[in-house]
Amino acid sequence: MTPDLIYGLTGIAVFAIGLVGALCAQDRLRRVLALKLCSVGAGFLLVVGAWRTPPMAPDPVPHALVITGIVVMVSATAVALALIRRLQTLESSDDDD
């Protein structure tokens, strides 16, 4: 049992949970949460792939890729949340009319 095996399986499980959530969740906010879980699961696998048994230093290229992914994901999340807010505003004004 090495950390890469444990966290690799954790990452796959988190990705699977996110995938089921994104397909089955009905609430918009929860779907965004589920997609975030998928991205973290994918990040786990990349970080695990970069891991080397200490004292060997890990491969820095996947690390840079995951950091890029995290920043892109926060941009995507911000746009998705803005769309959710807008949709909700439109729906609530429809109800008022």
Binding site: A13, V20, D27, V40, V61, I67, V74, V79, L81, Q88
Partner: protein
């Protein structure tokens, strides 16, 4: 093998999976967001165990901190600004229509198959195969910085990072367009303790953010982590109403958003004009150029993330006031 640490890894992995399930199944949406934030922090801890401190810092600051603030802000907006305050809104913000259980089971079965495939691929993959370690360590002396992740982000794969900054810029443009004309959300009432807290932590956050940026050259840290910590300053200022965005500030805000992209691209073009490939910095000035780009990109990232949190473009506020006056 180190037994106590294996137990720690197993417990942490189990906690991460349990939190992921809980954040999708718990009935209260606020609880879901809080569980997701804890999930993100524990994932960051797991990445520290996998000797990836840079990724852990980015996940804690951006993936969990800024994203958590965005999620909580959206939840507040949906519940108290546009939504009803009824019981239903505590559980979800979208009205539910029943989905046939067959569809759910079919989805779950397909997800299970995909997961099984992933697990087989992961377990069958060669252990610790040759990566880019050798290439990176070979090229490190020419990079101008001592920390490999920073060297990759700002030098070897600088084109990726430039595009990443452009994605952030595109996100803030999209959010401003989407929220155009949306009514202003009344700010939550914060107590006096909050004001005092903000006054105490603001200088500390500025120092930590700047240190993270500076340390990125030889230790874990860098533009994105530092920028996210500095964005927290913007979030606190916005929440305490110490800074209220006005329509007149849009010019400055736009300059701050594009500053990083423009300088990044300008350096690339400047380097390319000297008969080199873009981003092939001259060895003597590599460190100075990287620090220049990092510093200005940090300002852009901080301003952009704070603007993403604030959402609506300041001009909409003025329009609304005009409408109220008439």
């Amino acid at each position: 093998m180190n037994d106590p640490l294996v137990i720690f890894d197993l417990l942490l992995g189990g906690a991460i999976i349990a939190l992921a399930i809980a954040s999708l199944t718990v009935r209260d949406l606020f609880a879901a967001v809080v569980l997701f934030i804890i999930f993100g922090l524990l994932s960051a801890l797991a990445w520290v165990r996998l000797s990836a401190p840079d990724v852990a810092l980015a996940e804690a600051a951006i993936g969990t901190g800024v994203t958590g603030a965005l999620l909580l802000k959206t939840l507040h907006h949906l519940r108290f600004v546009t939504g009803t305050l009824g019981h239903q809104s505590a559980l979800s913000v979208t009205p539910h229509t029943p989905v046939p259980s067959g569809v759910i089971w079919a989805n779950a079965a397909f997800c299970g198959l995909i997961t099984l495939g992933l697990a087989v691929a992961f377990l069958g993959a060669p252990q610790a195969g040759p990566g880019f370690d050798a290439l990176v360590s070979e090229a490190m002396p020419a990079s101008g910085v001592e920390h490999p992740v920073t060297a990759i982000l700002l030098n070897f794969r600088a084109y990726d990072t430039l595009m990443e900054v452009v994605v952030l810029l595109a996100a803030v443009i999209a959010v401003w367009q989407i929220e155009r004309g949306l009514s202003d959300a009344p700010a939550p009432v914060m107590g006096e303790v909050w004001q005092g807290f903000a006054r105490l932590v603001l200088p500390a956050i500025v120092v930590v953010g700047t240190y993270l940026l500076w340390a990125g050259a030889e230790a874990p840290g860098g533009a994105f982590q530092g920028g996210a910590v500095l964005a927290a300053v913007g979030l606190l200022l916005l929440l305490t109403r110490a800074y209220v965005p006005r329509p007149g500030h849009r010019g400055i805000a736009r300059c701050a958003f594009v500053l990083g992209t423009v300088v990044f691209a300008a350096v690339a073009l400047l380097v390319a004009s000297g008969g080199r490939v873009a981003f092939e910095y001259p060895a003597d000035h590599a460190k100075a150029l990287i620090l220049l780009i990092e510093g200005l990109v940090t300002i852009s990232i901080a301003a952009t993330l704070a603007a993403l949190f604030h959402g609506r473009e300041p001009v909409a506020l003025r329009n609304k006031e005009d409408r109220n006056d008439t």
